[in-house]
Structures are given as structure tokens and as C-alpha cells.
């Protein structure tokens, strides 16, 4: 984690030197607002707040855009992004994508649950879009190492249609899954090991 922070630091400086109309201080403040909840290096300590480290840049851009436009509902995120310029949105996304990815959850693994989750993930071809190692790419988020509670919350939102994404792909991917399916799938992804 230390090394990740050190690697991220020069990026902040290079952003500060860039031509961002709202000023370097503002951008630094906005990045600080991200890490205050999502963790210094993008690893969240709060079960309801996602880890953002290592998320693909385009995915982060889209989420900030959706929050700013009021197309994804979360009072804190809607407020934080309200006056964000396109340039800031782009720079913050680049910064977040440069933070280290979360390590797999270190707790002892319940093999039976892990396997149930793996079977579901295979059946729903999650890896086709999110990569076989669930590292994510482009507009599709990293899932490996994400918090279980947050993953379940996301599945529910996609199923309920309150969260949509860039395509209707996720609504279809989670259609018909039960709460226990969600729990198994989230367990597998949170503990994913190669």
C-alpha cells in the first residue's frame, strides 16, 4: 500500500501542473474528498463504500458523469460531482485508475461457497466483460477484491433497475438471481484468487 501511494503522488503533481481551469488546489481538494471515504489508496474500510483503486479509467469517468448528471443516485456523490468540469472529471478518473487494486480478502475461504459463486459467475459469463481475472476493462469495473456488501448492493440495484450502466447488460446478467445467489457471487468475487 505504501508503494502504491508513493507511485500515485507524482501523478497529483503532474495534474497540478496541467491546464485545469478551476485550479490545482481545487482538484487536489476533490481528490482528497474521494480518498476521505474510499481510502487513502483507494481501498475502502467501509462495507458500504466501494474500493476504487485500480478501477478502469473509463469506468470511473462514467460513474462520475452519471453522478454529476443525476443518473446515478447517491446524495454524497451527487453533491461532490455537481460542479465538476469535464477536465476535472477526466483527471480524477486518471488518478483513481492509477491507485493500486485491492488485494483479495484475506479471511479464510469457505470453499463450498467460493465454488458456488464461481459456478454462478461462469454461468452468467461475468468474465467475458469483466475479464477472466475480474480486473475490469474500459467501462466495465474491476470486481476482484471488491467488498462483499457493496457488490450485493450493486447487484440489487441493477436487478431493480435503479442502476443502469452504459448498456442494459447488467440487468440481464443478474436477472432471476436470488439473494443467496448474490451472496455467493459477491463472496467469490471479493475473495477471488487466480
Amino acid at each position: 500500500m505504501r508503494s502504491g501511494l508513493a507511485a500515485a503522488a507524482p501523478l497529483v503533481l503532474s495534474i497540478a501542473a496541467g491546464p485545469y481551469p478551476s485550479g490545482a488546489q481545487t482538484l487536489q481538494d476533490k481528490i482528497a474528498a474521494c480518498t476521505a471515504c474510499h481510502g487513502e489508496t483507494g481501498q475502502s474500510q467501509d462495507a458500504n463504500v466501494p474500493s476504487i483503486g485500480g478501477q478502469p479509467k473509463l469506468f470511473v469517468m462514467y460513474q462520475l458523469f452519471f453522478y454529476r448528471e443525476g443518473r446515478r443516485a447517491n446524495p454524497e456523490m451527487n453533491t461532490i460531482t455537481k460542479d465538476m468540469s469535464d477536465a476535472e472529471l477526466t483527471a480524477i478518473s486518471e488518478y483513481v485508475a492509477g491507485l493500486p487494486a485491492p488485494p483479495p480478502s484475506s479471511r479464510a475461504v469457505d470453499e463450498a461457497r467460493y465454488r458456488r459463486g464461481a459456478e454462478l459467475a461462469d454461468k452468467r459469463i461475468c468474465g467475458a466483460c469483466h475479464n477472466a481475472d475480474y480486473s475490469g476493462r474500459e467501462q466495465m469495473p474491476r470486481l476482484a477484491g471488491q467488498g462483499e456488501a457493496y457488490l450485493v448492493k450493486s447487484f440489487r440495484a441493477y436487478q431493480a433497475g435503479t442502476r443502469i450502466g452504459t448498456q442494459a447488460a447488467m440487468a440481464e446478467a443478474v436477472r432471476g438471481l436470488s439473494d443467496s445467489d448474490f451472496a455467493d457471487l459477491a463472496y467469490y468475487l471479493a475473495h477471488f484468487r487466480r
Partner: protein, 408 residues
């Protein structure tokens, strides 16, 4: 006209009942599959390369003007940025008073109006929060907006850009499916509004009374009649300036192979009778591996020209201006948005030359420079001939409009 799939010895009614039964089974099967895959992934062959293929998502912010792709047109032409900073710029239409209306799709969900002289041009968002409002048209002072569900009209729009009037709904009987449900709409020389309804899938056998067709209606939405059948997904058409015939681009199915099928440029010689093959025959030359058994491509209208594998030809216009050299008169400019369902990407605005016998004599690249290192820098969506004869081109990937002019 493609006949109903009648079987030997069966009456028409029985055959219809069978067709309906088959259709229900197909739809049920499609829904079963749908639970596990997004619609565009149905039919995807197994393998690492195809597993990584998905529709290309544009960035949700427009590309800053200085970083827009440097496009190239033939010698003598000049390419400039007409307006940048238009998120998800898709369809283009010209108002009587000089406004350029710009539609968008999923990313923005807005309709914009671009007004003003060069250097002082401004973009106003005139409508927002719309669902896939790709289809726009301007006619007799009104702006028409088509979503997958309905077509609405905003009267006297150019005098009310800051406060558009409440819309009048002129047609609300569209099926509303998201897959290939977004529209391209245009008034024909007959004063009727032409409206496509694509196939609600990559490849399936949908109800031909509702899907895979182009229909026309009166300006008030009445008197719907089907003009062309067997059309998978057209997002661009225009009428020949002399013959007045409808020509359209059509996007063919995905996942067959890297190099097939070839997307189509089509001509409707027999309105109401012509069937263009979907889902049975693709590109006028190959029957579908699933739905094509027992079918023959000779039963369907052949394309006027092939536009390349998975090329995604969208907007097209006959060139009716006088600014460009005479060889471009009545030729067709076609925006090839570029494939997602193919390893090697390409995109351009092409020009198709049409002779007096309605034959396409050649199709050539016209405006290039959209792809670098197999990555899209921009993707052309629609083309628009301006009053002075210059050509505007929209780009939904970079969020910009370019202007191509000739001479001076």
C-alpha cells in the same frame, strides 16, 4: 415481395398459425438466452478474442478541440472543426433559419441546437432527459424527435430555442425495444415521414408486421404503411434527388465472422414490396446459418453496394450542393461508424457514386483519419449538406461536428 413461408399443401391460415407458433417458440428461446447474455452477445462464438469484443463505449466527456482527430479529405477540400464540445453528437438536421440541430443517444439523451457565425458559434441544449433520442427531423418550422417508443413534434422551434414548446405526440405505437430501437427519421419527397423499426436482437425472426422494416406515415401520424421489409437496422436513409427513390444503409448481423457479413447500401425500387433478406439472407449472398435453411438469397432484393464487414454505415445523404466538383453531384456520402464486432477497426465517410441506371459504380473513402493504433479517435455518425454546399459530419465518440468545404 418475399412470400409468407407457406408449406406445400397447407392453406394460408394453417401456415400462418405454424409461423406464429414458430415465432412464439423463437421468442421464448431468445428470452431464455437473454437471461444470461446481453442482446448483442447472443450468438457469440467461444474463444478469447471474441470474449473481449463488446460495443465500444465513447468517453462520457467530449474530446477537447485541440485533441480532436486530424481528418483528411481529397486534395482541394478543407476540413475544419465546425463545433466541438457536443457530447454524443449523432443526428444532424438543418433548420430554415440556419440552426443545426444535433441529436444524441444513450450517453447524453439530449437534443442540441448550434447557432451563430463562425467564431461566435454556440451550442444550446434544448431538450434533455430523453430516452435514446437519436431520430430527429426538421420540417415546416417544426422539430421532430423520435425515441424507440414515440415520435413527437416541437412547433416553431427556431424561434423558441431557449424555451421549446410542449411537444405534440404524433405517433406512439412504436414497439419501444432498446436493441436497434433508436431511430433515424426523414420526410420523403411525398411529404410522408419515414420511420424504421429494427430487429430487437442481433439475429432472430421477429414479427414482420412490427419489426425489421421501414414504414411511412402522414405528418400527423396517420395512415401507417410498410415501405421495406427484411431490414435489420437502418440508421440512415435519403431519397434520390431525381428518381425520388428511397436508399438506405443497413447494419447486418454480428458474430458470423471477422469478414462477413458485409453491411449494405440498399435501394427501394418497389415500395411496399421489397424484402431485403433479414434474417434469412445477408449481404445478398449468404443464407443465415440458423434462419437461412430452406431459404434462397435470390428471393430477396440484393444490395446496391456492399459497405464492408461490420462497418456500421449510419447517416447518408445524396450530395445536392454545388460547392463540390461535379462528380459528387447526386453521389451519396455515407458515415461508416466503424465496427465493434471485428478485431481490426476502421471508420470513414465514404462516397458512393450512382449512375443514371441506379447502379453504384464505386464506393471510395472520402474523409479518413478516425482510427489510430486500432483505436477510435472519433466515429462519424451523420452527414448533412449545408446551404452553401459544404458537408457537416457529426462524431459521437469525440463529441464534435466537422465541416468539409471545397475551393477558396
Amino acid at each position: 415481395m418475399h412470400p409468407l413461408p407457406t408449406k406445400c399443401g397447407l392453406g394460408l391460415q394453417t401456415a400462418s398459425a405454424i409461423a406464429v407458433g414458430l415465432l412464439a417458440a423463437t421468442v421464448a428461446l431468445a428470452q431464455e438466452k437473454k437471461e444470461e447474455e446481453p442482446f448483442w452477445a447472443v450468438g457469440r462464438p467461444k474463444g478469447e478474442v471474441t470474449a473481449k469484443m463488446a460495443p465500444v463505449a465513447a468517453p462520457p466527456v467530449p474530446t477537447p478541440e485541440a485533441q480532436l482527430p486530424k481528418l483528411t479529405a481529397p486534395p482541394g477540400f478543407k476540413v475544419e472543426v465546425y463545433q466541438s464540445g457536443i457530447l454524443d453528437a449523432r443526428g444532424l438536421r438543418r433548420g430554415d433559419k440556419g440552426t443545426v440541430f444535433v441529436s444524441s443517444l444513450f450517453v447524453a439523451g439530449k437534443i442540441y441546437a448550434v447557432t451563430g457565425e463562425p467564431g461566435k458559434r454556440v451550442t444550446k441544449t434544448i431538450l434533455s432527459g430523453l430516452e435514446l433520442p437519436n431520430g430527429i427531423e426538421f420540417n415546416k418550422g417544426s422539430l421532430y424527435v423520435a425515441t424507440p417508443k414515440q415520435i413527437t413534434r416541437y412547433d416553431n422551434i427556431e424561434d423558441n430555442l431557449d424555451k421549446p414548446p410542449a411537444p405534440v405526440t404524433i405517433y406512439d405505437k412504436l414497439p419501444g425495444d432498446v436493441p436497434h430501437g433508436w431511430k433515424f427519421i426523414k420526410f420523403g419527397p411525398d411529404g410522408k415521414l419515414y420511420v424504421p423499426v429494427g430487429a430487437p436482437c442481433n439475429i432472430c425472426e421477429p414479427d414482420p408486421a412490427k419489426y425489421a422494416q421501414i414504414f411511412r406515415i402522414n405528418a400527423d401520424g396517420s395512415n401507417m404503411e410498410i415501405v421495406a421489409r427484411g431490414v435489420r437496422n437502418t440508421v440512415g436513409f435519403d431519397f434520390h434527388p431525381r428518381s425520388k427513390e428511397l436508399w438506405f444503409t443497413d447494419n447486418q448481423r454480428d458474430w458470423l465472422s471477422e469478414d462477413m457479413p458485409l453491411d449494405e447500401l440498399n435501394r427501394v425500387a418497389n415500395p411496399g414490396k421489397d424484402h431485403f433478406g433479414y434474417p434469412y439472407c445477408h449481404s445478398g449472398m449468404m443464407t443465415d446459418p440458423e434462419f437461412g435453411w430452406g431459404k434462397s438469397c435470390s428471393d430477396y432484393v440484393k444490395p446496391a453496394a456492399s459497405l464492408g464487414p461490420h462497418a456500421a454505415p449510419l447517416g447518408m445523404r445524396f450530395y445536392t450542393g454545388t460547392m463540390f466538383p461535379t462528380k459528387y453531384r447526386n453521389a451519396i456520402f455515407i458515415a461508416r461508424h466503424g465496427p465493434w464486432n471485428r478485431t481490426q477497426k476502421y471508420a470513414d465517410v465514404s462516397v458512393a457514386y450512382v449512375d443514371d441506371a441506379n447502379k453504384v459504380t464505386s464506393v471510395e473513402p472520402f474523409l479518413t483519419g478516425w482510427v489510430k493504433d486500432n483505436t477510435y479517435l472519433g466515429r462519424p455518425v451523420d452527414v448533412l449538406v449545408m446551404a452553401d454546399g459544404s458537408l457537416l459530419v457529426s462524431d459521437d465518440h469525440a463529441g464534435a461536428i466537422y465541416r468539409v468545404s471545397y475551393g477558396k
